[in-house]
Symmetry: none
Subunit: 227 residues, 4 copies
Amino acid sequence: MERSERKDLITDKRRRQIQAAAMKVFSEKGFGKATIPDISREAGIAVGTIYIYFQTKQEILLSILEGHVLIEPLAHFLDKAGEVDDQDLLTLIFEACLKFGFDNVNQFIFLLGEILRDDYIRKMYRKQAVKPAMKIVEDYLRMRMEAGDFSPSLDTEVAARALVGMVIGLVLLYGIEQDKGSRSMQWRRIAGELAHFVLSGLGERMEKEDAGEKGDGLGDIRNGGVA
Amino acid sequence: MERSERKDLITDKRRRQIQAAAMKVFSEKGFGKATIPDISREAGIAVGTIYIYFQTKQEILLSILEGHVLIEPLAHFLDKAGEVDDQDLLTLIFEACLKFGFDNVNQFIFLLGEILRDDYIRKMYRKQAVKPAMKIVEDYLRMRMEAGDFSPSLDTEVAARALVGMVIGLVLLYGIEQDKGSRSMQWRRIAGELAHFVLSGLGERMEKEDAGEKGDGLGDIRNGGVA
Amino acid sequence: MERSERKDLITDKRRRQIQAAAMKVFSEKGFGKATIPDISREAGIAVGTIYIYFQTKQEILLSILEGHVLIEPLAHFLDKAGEVDDQDLLTLIFEACLKFGFDNVNQFIFLLGEILRDDYIRKMYRKQAVKPAMKIVEDYLRMRMEAGDFSPSLDTEVAARALVGMVIGLVLLYGIEQDKGSRSMQWRRIAGELAHFVLSGLGERMEKEDAGEKGDGLGDIRNGGVA
Amino acid sequence: MERSERKDLITDKRRRQIQAAAMKVFSEKGFGKATIPDISREAGIAVGTIYIYFQTKQEILLSILEGHVLIEPLAHFLDKAGEVDDQDLLTLIFEACLKFGFDNVNQFIFLLGEILRDDYIRKMYRKQAVKPAMKIVEDYLRMRMEAGDFSPSLDTEVAARALVGMVIGLVLLYGIEQDKGSRSMQWRRIAGELAHFVLSGLGERMEKEDAGEKGDGLGDIRNGGVA
DNA sequence: GATGAATGAGAGTTCATTCAT
DNA sequence: CATGAATGAACTCTCATTCAT
């Protein structure tokens, strides 16, 4: 390894260290109220050092957003589409998203705030995180439609956003309704209900089978993570 | 009118004037970055005057949240449940919510941020806005279930949150994806799709009829507004 | 009584009302930290009204100082000189001064502060309060010297200042050492000791008699007050 | 010298620099009217820097008072008791105190004001400055009484306060009566008169000898300073 | 005359940023 | 490179003063 490479590695490590600390502080206090001393304390790095790796506070924020992706890891799950039952697949996905989302609501909301506030950030984020994520979901829906499993009259554009939006909205609602320290939510059950609802809607119908808890042969496709 | 009554009126007017300006500035810059001079400029009022009506900047925020309701006006719509077709009813509601939400994403996100950040605010908001809102929706779902129109296996608690969350999430997504000044969204069409999706799910089924645009005998129950 | 006279009376009453309130607030918080709202509250008079009677906050202070005299009422006591025993006379005077002083240390210190701070005020106060007060005391000392009762080598100028200064200093020291609410001080006893000390000094000598408490035929010349 | 020691030295220097500037400004304008910019200007230091060394303006005041002693250096003089003539000793002490006091009346008055105004400060000051000072004087008086040089009927508590109070009061009176720039006061003469007065009182007696100016074999115990 | 809401200059305090060590 | 003391602009909040009622 070259000298310069090693230097780059150290540089990268420091940058990530600062970003992580900043993300934490931003989430807790909001960008405006977070201070550089806060971040330096959180990162265990001197104030002056931060300015070696980032020009301004604003730049720290941008660098965080640049590296942020909405649901990329979801792709792992959706690759399994067709192999597993839709109900099971969606249950798994929803569970992962809800869990991850619930643990990171503050980060999420903070990012949303900055994204909506700033034109440049919004455009960047749209292009880099939202569009790809939507494409993944839309592709999945289209595939299942063509396979004859989903209703052919589906507007994939709207449906994809409805699905993703539903998860986002749920996370926010639960974030408001539950206290952080409270008993762990029954994400599995909730995810199952959601999957059911998503597949069948509210309207009356013949229940094909009992969804939800049924053994657990799903372990193999778990742990996709959502960042 | 008594002297003191007139004074109260003026006081109320000033408070609302300040709250409106604050809401605007908070939404645009975030609570932390918004300054009292910003608010005073926006309200056309001197800095000192603001402190006659509110003790601190934080108190302005609280006073705004206290007066904030999530979906109370929705009740107007839901009162019509049963009189109108579900598809039509939901279409109307979704349309109203999406429109209103889209016009106020920033406010909404800003509020969410503060709500999630601060324990006191979160508890207040939960009790005063979220809980009542959820009750309205759950009651509606339960009623329709008992009427035999919605699936009896519905978990109303989850379903209600899924519905509300879906709208919230959609608003956020569209907020990121669309530029403010862009062509007005086709809310009516989107709302129709959503209603369809919500009632029937993604799964295949016999389409009863074509949802969406069909004449327009709905004007009578429009204009409920969502605050 | 003329119309205009009545008006003047009302005006005077208002001015005094404001001065009294201001004196109280100034003593408690210091001139710099005292606010016009404080004074208006204390006086039970609207803020704006105060500005009808005084141009500025500073002017209130000046008007108070103009009307302030150091020890004029002392003259009443000193008129008795020769009629009563020196020890008794001084005891009475000291007692009155200490009592009054102790009850008004804050006022006193506040005034001192402003007097020493501001050239104009100092000159005014010097001419109007200190000089006359000193003259009274010096005249008394000289009279007693000529009567052969006080040492002929006395430097009346220094002695007068030593006497008055001693009382002032004592009041300040006791003001620091005692808490306001504490047991009432034994002013009579202290005053007796002081008188003794002042007449005989620290040096050894033959005690003529036991000073201090002895009957009480002094009631007739009490209650002179010191403003 | 260690790195950290050097840092401590600098820190201490800065603190003292700020305290000195603050003391000056407080004395000139009073605590309430003195501003941080005033202090920063006087100290030749940026506003923000002050807040590195002191949390608040109030804390600067407290830190000054904590380090303030009333008459500790007096002990140096009183150690000479017995070696020198009482008249000479007192003359020296009085002279030192009057000189020092006169040069610092404003500081003194300012401190008195704050001490009397604030319970916490008063208690601190009482314990730390007044009580020890009084003890020194009382001990001296008691010693001289036991030596048979001062009257045995002396109430040392009162006498000590009378002595100290006299000096304080004199300083204040001269502070009002004299302009700062005026001809230097004849402190030596005044101190001599005071010593005489203190030792012998006002009453008539046989003058033992002529006090005051008599050669000057006192230089050796001068320059004790009074802080 | 009396009132107190309105004003804005100016206070105390914070913090993004720099730079000598 | 790493540090954190130093800086001063900008913030929140106060209050002497004015003026329409």
